[in-house]
C-alpha cells in the first residue's frame, strides 16, 4: 500500500531528449521566424499549463463532491499540478518578452490620438487591456493556482504522514474556495491569454469553451498516466471500473466541448455581424482543413470510439482515444492562437511540433518527479476503502 513510483533510467533520459528537441525547435524558430516561434511558445505553454491546472481542479472537484471512487488515482492529478508553477511563470515570461509580437493591443500607437494607427475600439478597452493591469492579473492567476495546488498537495502529504480526519476536513473548504476561484480565473484567464490575441473580437462563452478544452485534455492526460503506470505494474488497486469512469468523463466532456464550440459558432454564423464573423472568417479562409479536422478529432472520433460500455473498459481503446483527444485539443489551442498572431503565413512544422515535444518532455519530467515523491495510494484518506471497492 505504501508503494512509490520509482523513476527508471528512461524516465529521466527520454524527457531530457524531448526537452532538447524542444530547445532546438525554439532556437531554430527565433533564428528564422520570430512571430511563429512566439505563437508556438504561447500555444504549447498554455496547453500544458491548462492540463496541469486541470490536475488540481480534478482533485478539488473530488473533495467538493465528496467523491470516493477517485481516491485511488488521486496522486496522479496531484502530481500533474507540479508543472503548474513553471507553466504560469512561462506565460508571464512569454508575455513580458514577446507581447509586441503576440498581442496587437500592446502597441502604443493604437492609443495615440495623433497617430494614423489610432484605434478607437482599442482605446475604449484600454481600462482593461493595458500592460500593468494585465501583468497584475497574470500574477494573480499564478498566486491563486499555484498557491492552492501547493496547499492541497501539502494537506494530502500530511494526511499520509499523520493520518486522522483533520487534513481531510481542512482540504474540503480549501477545495471549495479553489473551485469558485477557478471558475472565475479560468474565464478571465482565457480572455486575457487567448481571446485578447484577437483583441477586437469578443465572445461571452469563450471562458467556458476554454474550460471545456482544459478539462477534457486534462482528463485524457490523467487517464493516459494511469494506463502507463498500470503498464509498468503499479496501481494494482485501479481496475476497469475506475478506468470506465475516466472513459465516461472523457466521453461526456468531449460532447460538452462540442456543445460550447457549436454554441459559439452558430450564433456568430447566424447573426453574421462583421466584427464577430471575422474570427471565423480568418479560420475558414486560411485554416479550413485544420478547422474541419479539429471538429472531427475532438467530437466525432471520441464520440464514436468511446460510446459503448465495452470500449470504455478496454485499455487499448482508452490509449487510442486519450491520444486522439490530446492531439485534437492541442490543435484546438493552436487554432485559437496562430490565426491572430501569424495569420496567412502559418505553417505547421518543426517549430510548432518540436516545441510541443519539448513542453511535453518538461511536463512529463516534472509530473514523474512529483509522482515519485509520494506513495501512489493516499493510505490515510477516509474514503480509500470506497475507492478500493469501486464497482459499476
Amino acid at each position: 500500500m505504501d508503494r512509490k513510483y520509482e523513476l527508471t533510467k528512461n524516465n529521466r533520459l527520454i524527457p531530457m531528449i524531448m526537452m532538447a528537441i524542444g530547445l532546438a525547435a525554439i532556437v531554430m524558430g527565433f533564428l528564422t521566424d520570430k512571430s511563429r516561434t512566439w505563437a508556438s511558445l504561447l500555444t504549447n505553454d498554455f496547453y500544458f499549463t491548462a492540463i496541469s491546472l486541470c490536475g488540481t481542479f480534478f482533485v478539488a472537484l473530488q473533495y467538493v463532491a465528496q467523491a470516493g471512487w477517485a481516491v485511488g488515482i488521486k496522486r496522479i492529478p496531484e502530481a500533474m499540478g507540479g508543472f503548474l508553477k513553471f507553466g504560469v511563470a512561462g506565460i508571464i515570461l512569454i508575455f513580458i518578452l514577446g507581447h509586441h509580437e503576440l498581442y496587437h493591443w500592446t502597441h502604443a500607437e493604437l492609443y495615440d490620438h495623433s497617430s494614423p494607427e489610432f484605434d478607437a475600439i482599442m482605446n475604449g478597452k484600454r481600462g482593461f487591456l493595458n500592460i500593468p493591469f494585465f501583468l497584475v492579473r497574470l500574477i494573480g492567476y499564478f498566486v491563486i493556482w499555484v498557491g492552492f495546488t501547493y496547499m492541497l498537495r501539502k494537506q494530502s502529504l500530511l494526511e499520509d504522514a499523520e493520518g486522522g480526519l483533520v487534513h481531510y476536513r481542512k482540504s474540503v473548504p480549501l477545495a471549495a474556495v479553489f473551485v469558485v476561484l477557478f471558475a472565475i480565473t479560468t474565464s478571465t484567464g482565457a480572455w486575457d491569454i487567448l481571446m485578447s490575441i484577437d483583441a477586437h473580437w469578443f465572445s461571452t462563452l469563450f471562458g467556458w469553451f476554454m474550460f471545456a478544452g482544459l478539462f477534457v485534455s486534462g482528463l485524457s492526460m490523467i487517464c493516459l498516466i494511469i494506463l502507463y503506470l498500470k503498464l509498468k505494474g503499479y496501481l494494482e488497486h485501479v481496475n476497469n471500473n475506475h478506468l470506465h469512469d475516466m472513459g465516461k468523463y472523457m466521453f461526456a466532456f468531449c460532447i460538452f466541448w462540442t456543445y460550447l464550440w457549436f454554441s459559439q459558432f452558430m450564433l456568430i454564423w447566424y447573426a453574421n455581424l462583421p466584427e464577430e464573423v471575422i474570427y471565423f472568417q480568418v479560420r475558414w479562409e486560411n485554416f479550413r482543413t485544420l478547422w474541419v479536422i479539429n471538429l472531427l478529432v475532438n467530437f466525432c472520433a471520441p464520440f464514436l470510439i468511446l460510446m459503448s460500455r465495452d470500449a470504455k473498459r478496454r485499455n487499448s481503446i482508452l490509449w487510442v482515444s486519450g491520444i486522439v483527444i490530446l492531439g485534437g485539443q492541442w490543435l484546438n489551442v493552436y487554432l485559437m492562437v496562430i490565426p491572430g498572431v501569424v495569420g496567412e503565413d502559418w505553417h505547421l512544422g518543426f517549430i510548432e511540433l518540436g516545441t510541443m515535444v519539448g513542453f511535453l518532455g518538461f511536463f512529463l519530467w516534472t509530473t514523474l518527479q512529483e509522482l515519485s515523491k509520494a506513495s501512489l495510494v493516499p493510505k490515510n484518506h477516509p474514503m480509500l476503502t470506497e475507492s478500493l471497492h469501486h464497482h459499476i
Partner: protein
C-alpha cells in the same frame, strides 16, 4: 416448454449466496424481482447483458434521419424561406441552423424509444396487469425465477431451492389484480 417456478426469499444476502449454489447444481435461474435494486446481482444471475443500449443508438440514428428529412422537406424542398440571407437551396449549406433541431429530435427519439422499448419488454405498458408472481415482492420479498426444463426433476429442483434458503417455492404465479 419450460415450466417457470418461483422461489421466495426474505433477505438479499441469502439470495446472493443461494444463486451461485443453485446454478452449480444445474438450476436455470432466469430473473430476480426485488423491491429495491441489488448492486452487482446481474453477473450472479448470469442473464445476458441488456441490449437496450444498442436500441438507444438505433433510435438515435432514426431521430437524426427523421429530423434531417423533416427540415429538408420543410425548409429546402417544399417552402424555402430566406431567413437573414442564409442559403436555402441546399441542406448542407444551411446545416448549422438545423443542428439544434436535429439534436433535439435525436435525444427525443432515443429517450422515448428506449423508455417505450423497456416498458414493452418488461410487460409494463399502461393497463397491463403487472407480472408479479407474489404480491409481497413490492414490499419485502425477493422472487427468484427458475425455469424447469425437465418436469421429472421438478421435486428435486424445488428441494434444492428450499435448501438454498428460500422460505417458500411457488409452482404457479399468484397474480393479483
Amino acid at each position: 416448454m419450460a415450466k417457470r417456478i418461483y422461489g421466495i426469499f426474505d433477505d438479499e444476502e441469502i439470495l446472493m449466496k443461494a444463486i451461485p449454489v443453485l446454478r452449480s447444481q444445474g438450476v436455470v435461474c432466469r430473473e430476480v424481482q426485488s423491491p429495491f435494486p441489488i448492486h452487482g446481482i446481474d453477473p450472479i444471475i448470469g442473464t445476458p447483458r441488456t441490449r437496450l443500449s444498442i436500441t438507444s443508438f438505433m433510435y438515435g440514428i432514426l431521430g437524426t434521419s427523421l429530423a434531417l428529412l423533416m427540415v429538408w422537406y420543410m425548409m429546402i424542398y417544399d417552402w424555402p424561406i430566406n431567413i437573414g440571407g442564409k442559403p436555402n437551396f441546399m441542406l448542407y449549406l444551411n446545416l448549422p441552423a438545423f443542428i439544434p433541431v436535429t439534436f433535439e429530435m435525436t435525444v427525443f427519439c432515443a429517450a422515448h424509444g428506449m423508455a417505450i422499448t423497456f416498458l414493452f419488454r418488461s410487460k409494463l405498458l399502461p393497463g397491463v396487469t403487472a407480472p408479479i408472481p407474489h404480491p409481497r415482492v413490492t414490499d419485502d420479498k425477493l422472487v427468484l425465477h427458475v425455469d424447469v426444463n425437465d418436469e421429472t426433476k421438478m421435486d428435486q429442483t424445488v428441494n434444492s431451492i428450499k435448501n438454498a434458503g428460500a422460505t417458500e417455492v411457488l409452482l404457479k404465479s399468484m397474480q393479483f389484480s
